[in-house]
């Protein structure tokens, strides 16, 4: 349980230079989530095209973990089928709650984020962007989908 352990190089890289981050115009923001513990905030815009998550953009400010988590998630998710992304987000939430084991193959660089699960107070930081993306694609892909409630 060492800082180097939690803040792995890949996580720090993404925190310093997050992908897909930039100013979103108010009308572009689909979902705006906040972590009440620390005031961290993630705004998301996600386009869905032909059943795939076509383009993701983030805005907001946060700690290294929440920023890197958003950046790594975007890398992983962009271009994948909506259903696969949904399932992945659900499974990842289970991993963070300790109900599923992190799987290096399924996670790739996201392994660095999964390490946060040993720090209960920070789990919300790691999952904030995931919740936001999930809500954004639910809105865009299938506003009437039964599991978007």
């Amino acid at each position: 349980m060492d800082s180097e352990d939690l803040y792995q190089e890949v996580l720090l890289d993404h925190a310093r230079h997050p992908h897909r981050y930039g100013k979103l115009r108010p009308e572009e923001i689909q979902v705006d989530l906040e972590n009440p513990l620390c005031g961290d905030r993630v705004c998301v815009h996600a386009d869905v095209e032909e059943g795939r998550v076509a383009r993701i953009r983030f805005d907001g400010q946060g700690c290294a973990i929440s920023t890197a988590s958003a950046s790594l998630l975007g890398d992983w998710a962009e271009g994948r089928p909506v259903e696969e992304v949904r399932a992945h987000i659900e499974w990842f939430a289970k991993v963070m709650r300790g109900e599923a084991e992190p799987d290096e193959e399924k996670l790739g660089d996201l392994m660095a984020v999964a390490g946060v699960r040993r720090f209960p107070m920070r789990i919300k930081c790691a999952t904030l962007a995931w919740h936001a993306l999930r809500q954004a694609i639910d809105q865009t892909a299938s506003p009437t989908s039964p599991d978007s409630a």
Binding site: L6, L12, G39
Partner: protein, 405 residues
């Protein structure tokens, strides 16, 4: 100093990293001396009984110890009569008691409640809620850039139908020690009832409620060496006597008829149900400990150490310390360019240094400071300059860790 530190068992626990704990989160809750921990154990092993109702020896001992604790707390804050001290879970419950019992039935549409920009949520949200429920107005007196209350803003806020003024004795974010006696005098002149949030007062500065002149003073036992779940509300006798109860139930009644009831005398009128007996007794023990040290000495030491902390932190590149103050409670808040406060707290934790990060239950203030989160180191009398050195070293290490590359 080593002698004092010996009194606090937790300071000698090894941290997960194997080092010694550097506890700089005292504004959140203080650590407890051996004498307080022992008083709790002793209570449960030799005295435990419900209070006020029994005639057997345990009930008598428990009642006596509980009421003795009330006397100790009263003396500690300069309250002339122990009946003016009501035991609560902490500052939050104490302030809510005033909000519900004093303010709610007395607030009228158009009335004004004045708070300051530096209030903790516990001395802000209750007043906001009461104002909204009554159609009254909540006016927030601003601070100056140095972290002190703006006296002109405060005076302007008082210029109106102000019914109640609620303000912190000491800020939990900035460390500001407000000139409460002066502010209360001005509020009273304006016709207001005054509530002082002493959560950061009693642990850090000498308190004399008569000299302050306030109507109510709220405090938290767990922040002043006492057990969790302990705290108190001081209220002027005539205010307390005029108030309807807040919680109803056992102990607070005089007579229960089928269709109405009458209330016990103060303070019991406000202590419905079985109180946190061990907590009150432990708080009394904590007061004894603080009196042995001397509140003046405690304040001088902590104010100096916090001032030193602020100065040392300012030397670190990229660090911005909030509050430029001649005198301080224990708290020093800051931000570090390029490192989020939570990441900093997490990193320092791995070095065995406990500080706090976040909005510190003061979102209205943080908006004014232009940040959503800060880091806070808050000292107690058992902290040392050497520990502040470790904090500063840790901050340097954090910078090279997070800002490299």
């Amino acid at each position: 100093m080593e002698e004092i530190r010996q009194d606090f068992p937790i300071l000698h626990e090894p941290t997960p990293g194997g080092g010694r704990l550097v506890y700089l989160d005292n504004a959140a809750t203080s650590q407890k001396p051996r004498s307080v921990i022992d008083a709790l154990q002793d209570y449960y092993e030799t005295t435990n009984a419900n209070v006020h109702r029994g005639v057997h020896v345990l009930a008598e001992k428990a009642t006596q110890a509980y009421e003795d604790a009330r006397i100790k707390v009263a003396e500690f804050i300069g309250a002339p009569d122990p009946r003016s001290v009501i035991f609560t879970r902490g500052t939050t419950e104490a302030i809510n008691l005033v909000a519900w019992s004093w303010a709610r039935p007395r607030l009228r549409p158009g009335d004004r409640i004045v708070v300051t920009r530096m209030e903790h949520h516990s001395n802000f949200v209750p007043w906001q809620a009461m104002a909204r429920a009554a159609g009254a107005e909540l006016v927030i007196a601003d601070i100056r850039d140095d972290g002190t209350l703006d006296p002109d803003a405060f005076q302007r806020a008082l210029d109106g139908p102000v019914k109640l003024v609620a303000l912190a004795h000491v800020s939990n974010v900035l460390g500001t020690v407000n000139p409460v006696a002066d502010l209360v005098a001005r509020a009273r002149e304006a016709g207001a009832v005054t509530v002082v949030d002493g959560a950061q007062g009693t642990p850090h500065v000498p308190v004399d409620v008569e000299a302050i002149g306030c109507d109510f003073y709220a405090l938290s036992g767990h922040k002043m060496l006492g057990p969790t779940g302990s705290g108190a509300l001081y209220g002027r006798l005539e205010r307390l006597e005029a108030m309807e109860p807040f919680l109803y139930g056992g102990e607070m009644i005089s007579k229960v008829h089928d269709d109405h009831s009458t209330w016990a005398e103060i303070p019991h009128k406000f202590e419905a149900g079985t109180p946190h007996i061990a907590g009150a007794i432990g708080l009394g023990e904590a007061v004894d400990y603080l009196r042995r040290l001397g509140p003046d000495r405690v304040h001088r030491w902590e104010s100096d150490l916090a001032t030193y902390t602020a100065a040392r932190l300012r030397e670190v590149p990229g660090v911005r310390v909030f509050g430029d103050l001649p005198e301080r409670g224990g708290a020093v808040s800051f931000v570090t360019e390029g490192i989020h406060p939570h990441d900093l707290a997490q990193y320092l934790d791995q070095l065995g240094i406990a500080i706090r990060a976040g909005h510190l239950c003061a979102q209205p203030l943080l908006r004014r400071l232009g940040v959503t989160a800060v880091s806070r180191a808050s000292v107690a009398f058992y902290n040392t300059a050497e520990e502040i050195g470790l904090l500063v070293d840790g901050l340097h290490r954090a910078r090279s860790f997070f800002l490299r590359g």
